[in-house]
């Protein structure tokens, strides 16, 4: 891939997260915190309801970058701040996530920094979400 200009936008990624996805991620990751599967526990600690694992949101958002580069190994540095929880209702539709990415900077050695905007229902759920990809 030629080094894309700063400001280049990645194809937008839209997806849905359901309770089944949370259960699957809990098993795969080993994170069985009940706030990700029990409304009773989630509301007891002051949440509106069951929320997605922040790490699931981070993992899903990475797809916008890996789909763009076509090479998961090119994502060498990846960081996010978990700003706002993604509440996942107990229905067939779940929660909506939208991931947008923009080439923000050229770094040395053919690497570029991509800044991600990850929203659910129009609200930003990750902040300072940045990926460094090696394109050379």
């Amino acid at each position: 891939m030629d080094v894309p200009a700063v400001g280049t936008e990645l194809p937008e990624l839209q997806l849905r997260v359901t309770r089944a996805d949370l259960v699957r991620y809990a098993g795969a990751s080993g994170d069985f915190n009940p706030i990700h599967w029990s409304d009773r526990v989630a509301t007891a600690v002051g949440l509106p309801g069951v929320i997605a694992h922040g790490m699931l949101t981070m993992g899903l958002a990475a797809r916008a970058v890996t789909a763009w580069t076509g090479d998961p190994a090119a994502l060498v540095d990846y960081q996010v701040r978990f700003g706002r929880p993604v509440v996942v209702p107990d229905d067939d539709d779940g929660a909506e996530l939208t991931v947008r990415g923009t080439v923000a900077a050229h770094l040395e050695d053919g690497r570029v920094r991509v800044d991600l905007a990850v929203t659910s229902g129009g609200e930003k759920v990750l902040s300072l979400a940045r990926a460094v990809v090696r394109l050379a």
Partner: protein, 146 residues
């Protein structure tokens, strides 16, 4: 309770070896919707230069978060786990994690501070092979709500 700044720099003994399996990588890839064949098909992975299937970029959390739990169970740190939430996360990959890796995690407390009545603790987990090859640096900021 404010965290003691003297904790900064504290390091914990290396973890037991975590052996990365192809089935675990495939299971994790499915859970995050990572559909690239390099996560499931060894031939596809070899065709692009990897010795075996590689893990998706956030797979390291499977090993690193468990390693970081040594900090939460350290009585001298005194964090109340029921108040802890994940504030931020960073991965720096020195190379992709791949099936067959025998990983050892070494955890260090990188920073402690207080903000808005919360305790913020940053742990850095260095993942390396048994033979000492650096694989991934995973940094987690944990927030203990005050």
């Amino acid at each position: 309770m404010a965290l003691d700044r003297a904790l900064v720099g504290r390091s914990y003994p290396p973890s037991a070896v975590y052996e990365v399996g192809r089935a675990k990588i495939a299971e994790f890839a499915t859970a995050v919707g990572a559909d690239d064949p390099v996560h499931r098909d060894p031939e596809a992975a070899r065709a692009v230069g990897h010795p075996d299937v590689i893990a998706p970029p956030t797979f390291a959390i499977v090993v690193s978060l468990e390693a970081a739990f040594v900090v939460l169970s350290d009585d001298e740190v005194g964090l109340d786990y029921s108040r802890v939430v994940h504030g931020d996360q960073k991965f720096t990959h020195h190379r992709p994690i791949r099936a067959g890796d025998r990983l050892v995690a070494t955890t260090t407390i990188d920073a402690v501070r207080s903000a808005a009545g919360n305790d913020l603790l940053t742990t850095r987990v260095e993942l390396a092979t048994e033979d000492g090859e650096q694989v991934c640096t995973a940094t987690s900021m944990l927030v203990a709500r005050g």
